[in-house]
């Protein structure tokens, strides 16, 4: 357990970060110029980290698999970014933001990390505004805030429904400035395949040039992963199709512990799958549940048009099951309830995997214009995609995989268990516990990239100032490159019959059914077997046309899916080992009489860390106990 020093500084909660900043070692400007840092990923955390490190004088190499760093999936975050500015004078503070995140995460996150995230949130807003992010403003000219996700204060900064895009482009513009200055060298259309570890330290990466197919070696004194989440393991999710876990997984295979892999947030209101070829699910804002009523037919397999189903033949199951909260139950409850109805055969639509969200009562009561003024955008978007007007008939919605709270374990310096390898943003596990609050992901990404990593990485690099530029012609690089090459060659050599996507879709279905919103021991054990069978079939029968030395999107997908099999197994193991329900992780065995999630703090108040033990071997589990000194651990209740 020597590796598991979380390095949380001493002192009162509110002083820890300042104390730490005052005590971390610094690297002089002259020495920074001799130090190379690799940053993989150009989302909000990666772009802000790369640009800030470049400003500080380090030599930075930045990598992304997209054609441009501006396309990273932070671009799709909608709602906003939280900060404890208290501009509304409604009693908000760093402590309240901290407390809300801890509670929202169902007491499965570390206090010191979360407090720091809340502390730097204000600086992030200052930084983004200065970078030209056009956040919404009041008529006075001052920044506007809105409330979000059921908290009692308004602390969410937003730019219409495109906050993520605007924040990302702000960070991206800073990155382009450092590229122009020559402090950052940009490598677009590169996929990281291997991490290179030399004498126990992360020293470089192997990438595939996605245009030429060439293997490339890149060395550095430290490597930062900002590679996002792995929600695409479900195949259908709200994530970008290209989002993947391969870089994080490569690091994990080289010794970085993976924390809480089974903690995945499922968003309750997305447009359901419309056809078998669908590649992605589109989110519909949760706010719709303020006026919409959710129902399914009382009769199993009722295929009548919804407007022809009479009132008494409808089952408003949320209102029935949760009379106090009705349609406004929290995300996880709404998601699970929809799944329960569909699994029982009451789902609607061709696939039977959706429920109705009905506005007819609201329109009757408030008038069409009132509803239109609130939801016009969303109704239009819905109609564009489905061809149906929510004014005339109910929407169909279904939950979708959205955000992964789990990720690479990091210490207070955001360093993984591999010295010199750092993980920031969604790719680490640090801030959100078992459930993330709305507008929290942008907050974490900006904080990690702009203000935390650039300080803490110095603590590591201070020891590296005497290390010369890392040579790429050493056996470690050769071996890593060979391993990457062999992996690609073996995939190409399978030459079977089925497409990569067909496997991914099947894997996604297994994960969704058995390691999604609701988990139980029987299902999880079944999933383990199914995943391993599917992986075997994949390795025998996948077909990847084309060659390695050209643009080959099927090969790119195959590499990602191959890693998803292994990650999927780990997620299932993690879900199996945590025999409690907490946040988004709902074990059927651990629920109250009313069917609510039952946390078992006495046994599971820990972060589960999984250590890779080699191909085909079982992971070993380490536990980092969680200590709560500043908040009272309570039960989540919706009664």
């Amino acid at each position: 357990m020597g590796k598991l020093q979380s390095k949380i500084p001493d002192g009162p909660l509110e002083d820890k970060w300042n104390n730490h900043k005052n005590s971390v070692r610094l690297v002089s400007p002259a020495n920074k110029n001799n130090l190379d840092i690799i940053v993989v990923g150009t989302g909000l955390s990666g772009a802000s980290a790369a640009s800030t490190l470049g400003e500080l004088g380090y030599n930075v190499k930045s990598f992304c698999f997209q054609d441009s760093p501006r396309r990273a999936h932070s671009v799709a975050a909608q709602g906003g970014i939280n900060a404890a500015k208290n501009y509304k004078n409604d009693g908000d503070s760093v402590f309240r933001l901290f407390k809300d995140i801890i509670k929202g995460g169902d007491y499965r996150a570390r206090e010191a990390y979360v407090y720091r995230a809340a502390q730097v949130s204000n600086q992030s807003i200052d930084q983004l505004v200065a970078a030209g992010v056009p956040f919404a403003r009041e008529y006075s000219g001052y920044l506007d805030n809105r409330s979000f996700g059921g908290v009692q204060v308004s602390r969410t900064f937003y730019a219409s429904g495109q906050t993520g895009q605007q924040c990302l482009l702000g960070a991206y513009s800073g990155l382009t400035r450092q590229i122009a200055r020559g402090r950052v060298k940009m490598y677009a259309r590169r996929e990281m395949l291997e991490l290179v570890v030399v004498e126990g330290k992360a020293r470089g990466i192997i990438t595939r040039n996605l245009v030429t197919g060439e293997m490339e070696r890149h060395s550095a004194h430290a490597v930062v992963l900002a590679t996002g989440g792995y929600g695409t393991i479900y195949y259908l999710s709200t994530l970008a199709v290209g989002s993947n876990a391969s870089a994080a997984w490569a690091a994990h295979r080289k010794g970085a512990f993976f924390a809480n892999p089974s903690f995945v947030q499922i968003h309750p209101t997305s447009i359901p799958q419309l056809n078998d070829f669908q590649a992605k699910l589109t989110l519909m804002s949760e706010s719709l549940r303020n006026d919409g009523r959710i129902w399914v037919p009382k009769k199993k397999g009722d295929k009548r048009h919804p407007v022809n189903i009479k009132e008494e033949e409808r089952d408003y199951y949320l209102e029935r099951r949760y009379p106090a909260f009705g349609n406004l139950v929290p995300r996880d409850v709404a998601s699970r309830a929809a799944k329960e109805r569909c699994d029982a055969g009451y789902g609607v639509g061709d696939t039977g995997l959706s429920v109705y969200l009905d506005f007819s009562h609201a329109i009757e009561k408030h008038g069409k214009e009132a509803i239109k003024s609130k939801y016009e955008n969303l109704f239009e978007m819905y109609e564009k995609i489905t061809g149906n007007s929510p004014y005339k008939e109910p929407m169909r919605i279904y939950p979708a995989g959205h955000y992964t709270m789990g990720g690479l374990w990091v210490d207070y310096n955001l360093m993984t268990t591999i010295p010199g390898l750092f993980a920031i943003g969604e790719s680490n596990f640090s801030d959100h516990g078992a459930n993330r609050l709305g507008a929290g992901s942008l907050m974490q990404c900006a904080g990690d990239g702009y203000f935390i990593l650039p300080v803490t990485i110095g603590d590591y690099l201070a020891d590296e100032i005497k290390t010369a530029r890392i040579s790429k012609d050493i056996p470690e690089f050769e071996q890593a490159e060979k391993a990457a090459k062999e992996k690609l060659q073996s995939l190409m050599a399978i030459n079977g019959k089925q497409t990569v996507n067909s496997f991914h879709r099947r894997l996604g279905r297994i994960m969704w059914d058995m390691c999604g919103m609701v988990r139980n021991e029987k299902g999880l054990k079944k999933a383990l077997k199914m995943i391993s069978d599917l992986k075997e079939e994949f390795l025998k029968d996948v077909r990847i046309p084309g060659a390695i030395n050209e643009i080959n999107q099927e090969l790119e997908r195959a590499v990602r899916v191959a890693d998803f099999f292994d990650l999927g197994q780990l997620m299932v193991h993690d879900a199996l080992s945590r025999e409690e329900s907490c946040g988004a992780h709902f074990r059927e065995e651990s629920q109250t009489a009313e069917g609510e999630a039952k946390r078992i703090d006495s046994r599971y108040s820990y972060v589960a860390l999984w250590e890779y033990q080699g191909e085909g071997n079982k992971h070993s589990l380490h536990k980092e106990e969680l200590v709560f000194e500043n908040v009272e651990v309570q039960e989540r209740s919706y009664k």
Binding site: D67, E138, S140, F451
Partner: protein, 247 residues
């Protein structure tokens, strides 16, 4: 639904491309255009052919990856959408659909329908930023910005960098792309100190990289998935001319 597809196939940047015809049936009207292509690719892979390479990522119209020129229009026959938001209901069964990559000297084709748009990043590197280091920012509310100005800046800032404006322009001009950024940052007080330098640098880079000049036809505005207004091009012209005449 069934369609005759004429799709541009090109092995790599050096090779000569050509249209290849495919017949596809069993397309459901609920598919998006890209899902129809996914379906085509599945049949191609299963029959031993190479799938059609095209760019896509978020599939909800915000990342700007998708870039198909369909039946003579960037992002196809619908307004205010990226290709990924185009639905098959916009076509009639039996239609012939011509699918091409963006075509411009500055956007060389890399394979099939994938083009290299790194020129856009280079234009951004020339000055599409505010030079503020991390930590140097003042308190966010210290500079009020009127709501009208903030909204107008936002309307320019929503550019997704897809390149439809270049494809739509008869001159392959990148003026709308450049204008969106110059205009956004020139409107905001934070961006004003560098506004003139920025306009000059970005226009010079745009010219250097081989984009054409602007004819104010308005085709870019009409095809822009985010409906970015030509007014921003006028503002770019103004910023540029002011910068030149002041020095």
């Amino acid at each position: 639904m069934e369609f005759k597809l004429k799709i541009w196939r090109q092995k790599n940047a050096r090779s000569q491309g050509a249209f290849v015809e495919y017949f596809i049936s069993g397309v459901s009207k609920e598919m998006s255009f890209l899902e129809m292509l996914d379906y085509l690719n599945k049949t191609l892979i299963e029959s031993g052919d190479n799938p059609v390479a095209f760019e896509h990522d978020c599939r909800e119209g915000i990342c700007g990856s998708c870039s198909l020129y369909i039946n003579g229009r960037p992002h196809g026959p619908d307004d205010l959408i990226a290709t990924c938001e185009l639905r098959m209901t916009k076509f009639k069964s039996g239609d012939t659909i011509i699918v091409e990559p963006w075509r411009a000297k500055s956007f060389p084709v890399l394979r099939d329908l994938i083009v290299d748009r790194y020129a856009f990043d280079k234009i951004m590197q020339a000055g599409g930023f505010i030079s503020v280091n991390s930590g140097a920012a003042p308190e966010a509310n210290s500079i009020p910005v009127s709501r009208e100005v903030a909204d107008e800046a936002f309307d320019a800032a929503i550019c997704i960098g897809c390149g439809a404006c270049v494809a739509a322009c008869k001159n392959s001009s990148a003026m709308l792309f450049v204008a969106a950024k110059v205009s956004q940052l020139a409107l905001l007080p934070q961006g004003k100190p560098e506004a003139e330098k920025r306009a000059r640098a970005m226009v010079a880079k745009m010219d250097e990289l081989g984009f054409g000049s602007c004819s104010n036809t308005g085709a870019c505005e009409a095809e822009c998935p985010k409906g970015i207004s030509l007014a921003h091009i006028a503002r770019l012209n103004r910023e540029f001319l002011l910068a030149v005449f002041k020095t």
